[in-house]
Amino acid sequence: MYSDDQRVVITGVGLAAPNASSLSEFREKLINGISEIEEVDLRYFGKAPAGTCRFEETRYRKKKENKKGTRAGCIGVYCSHEALRDAGLEPGSYARDRIGVYVGLTEHGTVETENEIYNIKGYGYDVSYWTHHHNPRTVLNNPAGEITMSLGITGPHYSIGAACAAGNASLIQGVQMLRLGEVDMAIAGGLSESTGSFGIFASFKSQGALADADDPRQACKPFDVNRNGIVVSEGGCIYILETLTRARTRNARIYGEIVGYAMNSDAKDPVLPFWERQVQCMQLALDRAAMTTTDIDLISTHATGTRQGDNEECRAIRSLFADSPQTYVNNTKSIIGHAMGAAGVLELAGNLGSFEDGLVHPTINVTELDPACALDNLVINEAVQSRGIGTILNNSFGMMGINSVLIVRKNIL
């Protein structure tokens, strides 16, 4: 058992998703299954469905800073300020050198590098026209660093590179640093600017893993028999993490406690997932939370809409949760696409509202459920009113065989 000084709770959430710029708006859109995925036209690549965020970019910093920085930094600054505001905090509420900023990224620098090569093409590839902003924009700590500069935070900041498990991994880092007493507050979450890179779309396409549909809102269809791949989205979601002691001292609103987490590696294949290791990862998180499968009310799946990825995760869940058919299962990517480094944290945030209203938002775009994905209590196409959600298990997996699981509990026991 951890002491209250080592128990970590979520007290604020700020986000930018393709269909929302606040947690309440996000929740409403998810419950109603409203997707705002659109067709975009990418340099060299052409048209593809994608998720683009529409938040007020100059709410918290000048246009000049947005031009100088990166898209991920811009999203991160917005989400961080929103999260602090949501938590009822200001940067000065804690000693500025006792706040840590941990940002999960799937990749970073791809967009900026592509843009610069395109820029110097206009000057006959003369590299004297290569921007001096390239290095500060592409160092891997860039988005976290932009957040510290905007908020005046002088504690540690860095990125967690963990493919599409990065969002969960950043929250785990925040929990660990709080427990170690390295910081008094963690600003942790995930960001993605991947829609700015034609190469990311082209690589998924070459891999046979990019979604395609006449209606872009219907392109991402996890668990459907006709699913055909990933919809790339940009996005961000930043959490304020505090110890239970400090949150209680300031009478903070608490969304829930991070009671369990786990990460492991498939050690098998660069891109193909592996259900047995996913089972081990979920089991480890349950063990750390001192829970069994029947204690989990809702599983927020990672499923991206690829044939094998969805199959593997469903096999893992079916295997581990065989004795817990009442556990609800849903999927958020069907509505917002795959926000890469922000995916896990956005998907968890989208489900936090179920602690209050008991509603489980649906996996949309399931026209014909794949029998391999027909899990017992899978919520498809329409939201379900449960008798109450008290625990969420949040899966997030990624390339190079990285797996991550978070368990969040509503009640502070």
């Binding site: 000048k62 004297s128 500060p136």
Partner: protein, 83 residues
């Protein structure tokens, strides 16, 4: 380019960098960075824009000439005489 043209060019470049830049009380003999919200990277943007717009390759040792609006204009005048 005349001296006035060059001044306008510099102010236009700064405005592109920061559309909120306020030139009303700008003293042409005081360093630009002391009066405007410009950091070292923004300053290099001015150098890059001069390169892009007028193919000027300003050597690093000449950067101090770009400190104030007047010194900048004086430095650029012969370079942009034909522009």
């Amino acid at each position: 380019m005349t001296r006035d043209d060059i001044k306008d060019l510099i102010l236009e470049i700064i405005e592109d960098i920061d559309d909120e830049a306020d030139f009303d009380d700008l003293d042409p003999d005081k360093p630009l960075r002391d009066q405007l919200d410009l950091d070292s990277m923004d300053f290099l943007d001015i150098v890059m824009e001069l390169r892009k717009r007028h193919q000027l390759q300003i050597p690093e040792e000449d950067y101090p000439h770009l400190a104030t609006l007047n010194s900048c204009t004086a430095y650029l005048e012969p370079l942009l005489k034909e522009a």
